[in-house]
Symmetry: C2
Subunit: 341 residues, 2 copies
DNA sequence: AGAAAAAATGTAATCGGTTTCATTTACGTT
DNA sequence: AACGTAAATGAAACCGATTACATTTTTTCT
């Protein structure tokens, strides 16, 4: 069933059918009704390819993110796919999804596939793909020459046509560390998990907070760990056994924090009395932990909503900020009760 | 840059360029090289619309699933998006993603959008969209007239062009209940969370296992609950306070089970001594619980891999089973140690 | 009523590829 | 050298929509 078939059946030209389809006002009500009837009868819908060919837009956005099954994937960003998709759909945009592992070639292929599809924009979720590898950014730079690229929680500066929306993770970690100190902690551990823009910001925020309180920043208090339950257990256990004294802990992901809580429970380390713990992301997990986990909410939903809104505006030709930063909130629960002041 | 531009620059016809692009063997090496050089120089890639128009396939599969942010979404199916995407990408297929809430109209629009795009197949993750609503299946029936529809963990029988790949959740729940009884539990609670094909199967499996062991099936032992931490707490607390005696619990999702474990811990109910608990999905969460959660692994990854493999075969014209069922495994941990026999 | 203006409709080009079929070129035989 | 065949190449139709422009119909105004 093509527009030609419809036009014949309705005894009009293809142009008229096209006008009806696109809500062009220059069509008699009578004609419109006649055409609509034929369209309904045959439940015809226009071929999106052909439409895209003519209009040179398919109302499609490419989404690139880490494979959720990848052990290095940031668990909190997984929800972002859903949020971004929902917002795009609201605006009648389709989403071409690519979940790739931490592999440069897969990434390049995915971006190329998006470009071949003439996506209207590219959204990259997480800084996984950006950091510490100039070569890996090459395909992004090339893509940006023809298609706007939006980074959610990633950063790539001074590149035309690349836009960033980030949570201020420096500030989030700073305030979390501040809250720990304010609650009486003097020896604060930092457990972080990857090597991305966000993680780096969090580490810097932690350091700054300690420094601002006149506390020493000791490298042996900063520990890297994946979100694998067993690895967390081992790393935390060896920290305890090393004899290091600590009474506070900031984890850059809730999963890390919950792993620590589990380990602390098993070893009879009282939380929050002997050890205060703060997680990051305020995921659902925080509520399932014992005791319930205080966590920095980086508000990924707002981030996604904002990104899509700006993206759509930009496609409509409006000016757009290159970097948009949003603030996080600390949600206090039992693992670190809210300080009084 | 179009194929015409390339053909002019290379001094050949568009047909030859097209042949080179598509690996047609009837091209001289010399010509191929000449054309490839021009293509590389201008880094030209063909427009996927135009290609799709001619070939009437875009090598694209539409994926429909529940919005991960929807509170009713089945958390264990979220990973499926990633697995399915990965497998499709391996086969050089693109994925058009629609994450929708439990809303009929959104679902219909999404399916229509896929059809407009002339997707080669549709994958629906979870039975969320299928059950208990003949009207809601209408759009699927219509889609199936032109496009194969694949259901992962959903069931729609006797519809041409609709294929199902399911985990045998009846069997999984049956064996989990059996294991509980074998470990000495006589009064087994069932905590389930939604009203889908999988959930129904699990409930039936639980009932059958009790019956086969000559134990009564009591409706007050079957309790429905969302995966909201607070709701789980309330429901489980009121079960305890109602004076109901129980020594075993099967939850149809790990989140439910972990919520129960948390509540049991707080109330000093010893797991596994006084209460044995089994979850479902064997998600990452199981390892973060105290004690670590025994869980039925429905092996969603295999399900996704199998679905995509069958789908590709089917597109290549091979015969395909209409219903494919896969078995689950119980992964024993501390909340229900493996029975001896 | 008739001319001018406005509205409705139709024709045909266009988007960027693939593909059929016709034509040219290269190669092997006698 | 002449011929037949196979391989390489090109010209043009086609896929299914949109749209500029031409044409027809309707409305408005004198």
């Amino acid at each position: 069933m093509t527009i030609h078939d419809i036009s014949k059946l309705a005894n009009v030209s293809v142009a008229t059918v096209s006008r009806v389809l696109n809500g062009n006002p220059n069509v008699t009500d009578k004609t419109r009704e006649k055409v609509m009837a034929v369209i309904r009868e045959n439940d015809y819908t226009p071929n999106a390819f052909a439409r895209g060919l003519g209009l040179d837009t398919m109302r499609t956005v490419g989404i690139l993110c880490v494979d959720p099954a990848d052990p290095d994937a940031c668990p909190s960003l997984m929800l972002a796919i859903g949020y971004v998709q929902r917002e795009l759909r609201k605006q009648n945009f389709d989403s071409l999804l690519y979940c790739v592992g931490y592999d440069m070639q897969e990434k390049e292929c995915s971006i190329q596939a998006m470009l071949d599809r003439r996506v209207d924009a590219i959204i990259i979720i997480g800084s996984f793909f950006i950091e510490n590898n100039a070569k890996s950014n090459l395909c992004i730079l090339r893509a940006a020459q023809t298609t706007p690229v939006w980074l959610i929680n990633g950063r790539l500066e001074n590149v035309p046509n690349v836009y960033c929306t980030c949570c201020d993770d420096f500030d989030g970690a700073y305030r979390a560390t501040h809250a720990l100190i304010q609650s009486g902690s003097r020896d604060v551990l930092l457990l972080h998990y990857a090597d991305t823009f966000s993680e780096t910001q969090k580490i810097l925020g932690y350091r700054k907070a300690l420094a601002d309180h006149g506390l020493p920043v000791r490298e042996e208090y900063i520990c890297e760990c994946t979100t694998d339950a067993q690895e967390i257990n081992e790393k935390f256990s060896s920290l305890i056994e090393s004899g290091l004294r600590f009474d506070g802990l900031l984890a850059t992901e809730d999963e890390l924090a919950v792993g620590v809580l589990k380990c602390a429970n098993e070893r009879g380390l009282a939380v929050p009395e002997a050890l205060r713990v703060v997680g990051y992301s305020n995921s659902k997990l925080a509520l399932f932990a014992t005791p319930e986990l205080t966590s920095v909410d980086h508000n990924i939903e707002s981030l996604c909503v904002t990104t899509v809104a700006l993206l759509i505006n930009q496609l409509r030709g409006m000016k757009t900020p290159v970097i948009t930063t949003m603030r996080s909130d600390i949600v206090f629960r039992k693992s670190l009760p809210q300080p009084l002041s």
